[in-house]
Structure formats: C-alpha cells, structure tokens
Symmetry: C2
Subunit: 195 residues, 2 copies
C-alpha cells in the first residue's frame, strides 16, 4: 500500500456507517470557525382540510451556506384517526414528534458511539407518550395540552460493556437536539402575516 493509498483508505473508514475522517474534518472546521456550526432548518406547511395538512421540507442553511443537496423536497402529510375526527390521512402531529425524537436520540447515540470507536450492531427504540386531550380541547385549564412525559425503551447491542453503553446513552440524551428541544422550554413565536 502506498502512502497515498493509505490516506485514501483512511479517508473512507466508516464506523456505524459514518465517515470517520469527514466527521473529524467537520469538527475541526467548527472549532476553527464557530459560525459554521450555525444551522437554520425550515419547513412549509399548507392546510388541506380538517386535520389534514402537508409539509414540504427542502432547503436549510448550515456550514456557512444554503444547502443545495436535495434534488426535490421531502413531503409529509399530517392526518388524524377517526376518533380524532379524521380519516387517517397520515400519522398525526404528536406521533410525528415521537418519530423525530426517536430518530434524533438514535442518530446522536450512533454519532457519539463512532467518536468513541464503538461499533453498534443493532439499535431500536419503542416510544410511548401520554396526552390528556382535555388540554387540547380547552376543557380544563389545569391540564397541559402536550405530552406529560415521553418514555423511550432502547434495545442496543454493541462491541462494548454495558457500563459504556449506559454512559453513551446518558451522553446521547444530553446532546440530542430534539430531546433537548422537548426537555427544555423552547420559545415558539407565531406571527400572523398580514394578508
């Protein structure tokens, strides 16, 4: 193996499906210029009818520029089940929140496992969250409309000890952007555009 081949080999080493060198380069770049760490994510949503509405998600800003990597937008439909006056046009918004949370905890876990040199063999989660619908309906001002608590059970196998897994899990929980958005109070500012 020549030195050049060795460099090329190193450049394509993956742990947990993540490019180790690309991750190291990204972290070095963010350390050198923190403005590269500033990301803005966006979505557009249009009401269809009743509990049905659709989002398109495509562009975002990050690493110092507008992203242009997506050939077309992602599209997602919110709906409601019949018991909530809909026709199951899609999962409902509180279910999509669970999907977002599951994915973020998982990706954060896998990312920091890679950083620690831990290879994940399998990872799955089950999420449950309770909501008292009297909050949404405004029937009792003492009832919060949102989730009371969200429980995640994680099944994970990896080439490390249970103690290392528990430490990694606690770290992932603390550093997951969606988990942080749920656990902390995050301001939501809604402005009505003049029509």
């Amino acid at each position: 193996m020549t030195a050049q081949q060795a460099v090329a080999h190193k450049a394509t080493t993956y742990i947990n499906g993540l490019n180790v060198q690309a991750a190291a380069d990204t972290i070095a770049a963010l350390k050198a210029d923190k403005s590269l760490a500033m990301f803005q994510f966006r979505a557009r949503n249009t009401w269809v009818n009743g509990g049905e509405n659709r989002s398109t998600i495509r562009e975002f800003y990050g690493a110092g520029q507008e992203d242009a990597s997506r050939a077309k937008p992602f599209e997602f439909t919110n709906g409601e089940p019949p018991v909530l006056l809909g026709n199951n046009e899609g999962a409902n918004p509180v279910e999509f929140l669970l999907h977002a949370l599951a994915g973020c905890v998982t990706t954060t876990f896998v990312l920091h496992a890679m950083a620690r040199g831990i290879t994940i063999r399998g990872l799955s989660t089950e999420l449950k969250g309770n909501i008292d619908l009297r909050g949404l309906l405004g029937l009792d001002d003492g009832v919060s409309p949102g989730y009371e608590q969200i429980d995640i059970q994680m099944h994970v196998t990896a080439d490390c000890s249970d103690e290392e897994l528990d430490d990694l899990l606690a770290y992932a929980q603390q550093h997951s952007p969606v988990c942080s958005t749920v656990c902390r109070p995050v301001p939501v500012v809604i402005t009505r555009a003049e029509s």
Copy 2:
C-alpha cells in the same frame, strides 16, 4: 325536509372539514368521563445505518380503547444531508419536529375555529429554527443542543375579523399539544433494555 332528514343533515354538518356534531359528541363524552381523554401515542424505530433510521407508527390508546382504525402502519425515514454525514435518506429529525409543530398548530387552529363557527378559507405556515451544532457535537457545554427558538409565520384567510383571527391564534398556540411539548419542559425518560 322531514324531522329525520333535518337530524341527518345536522349530523353531517362540516366546518373546516370537521364534523361539528361528532366534535360536540366527543366533547360531551369527555366531560362526562374524563378517562376517555387519556391518550397514549407510540412509535417504534429501528436504526438502519449512519444517520438513517425508520419509524413505524400504527396503534395508539384513546377514548377508552386500543385504536384499530389503521389497516397498516405509517412508515417514516429519518436521514441526514451530506453536510451532516448522510445521503438525504429522509428529512432529518429536527426537520420532522418542524413538520409536527406546523401540523399541530394548524389542526388546533382549525379545530377551535370550527368551535367558534369560523370558516377558514386558507392557512399556510413557514417555520424556521436555529440550531448551533456545537451543542450536538459536545464542543461547548454552554451551547444547548436543541432549537434556540422556532419562528412560525402563519398566512390565514377566514370569514372573520383580524382581531378574531389574532385571538384564535393565541388560543391555538396555548392549546396545541406539540407547541406545548416544545414550549414547556417535558421529561424524556430513556431506559436501556437488558439484551
């Protein structure tokens, strides 16, 4: 019109695509037995590779029973763009959170418009949220990993005054389950299952 036809007509009156009588019946039932308002939503997620993972969402508990209305599960894929070490396998988790938030604010708005007898002609939203990636990466303990703030611009036309729209918007913001979950600190409890 016979009395029976009148009743049938009333039973299928819709405002904003929502069945007015079904909504009134639901609210009456929840007032009579608050246990019917207790819902549990669920998701299962499996890691695929790198920043890619998939959720299935189907069953939930609510209105006193397990729901059986969905013939098959909804499936959603989280991914990451190349700048975040992925291949755009799907929108990413923080983007799905925006989709959930947009949908919930919209549905809550439309629902309470119906309750007030307001007909919505059109409703769309644009969402933006800023994240400092140094939080996710653990590069600065002073930086929160989650959204700093989420801004929603709502475009809405309806058969009411601007003052009524603003009042309805404030009410929807206060009563949206996803908005409440983001704005308040909601506990997330992660447990690692023994393998």
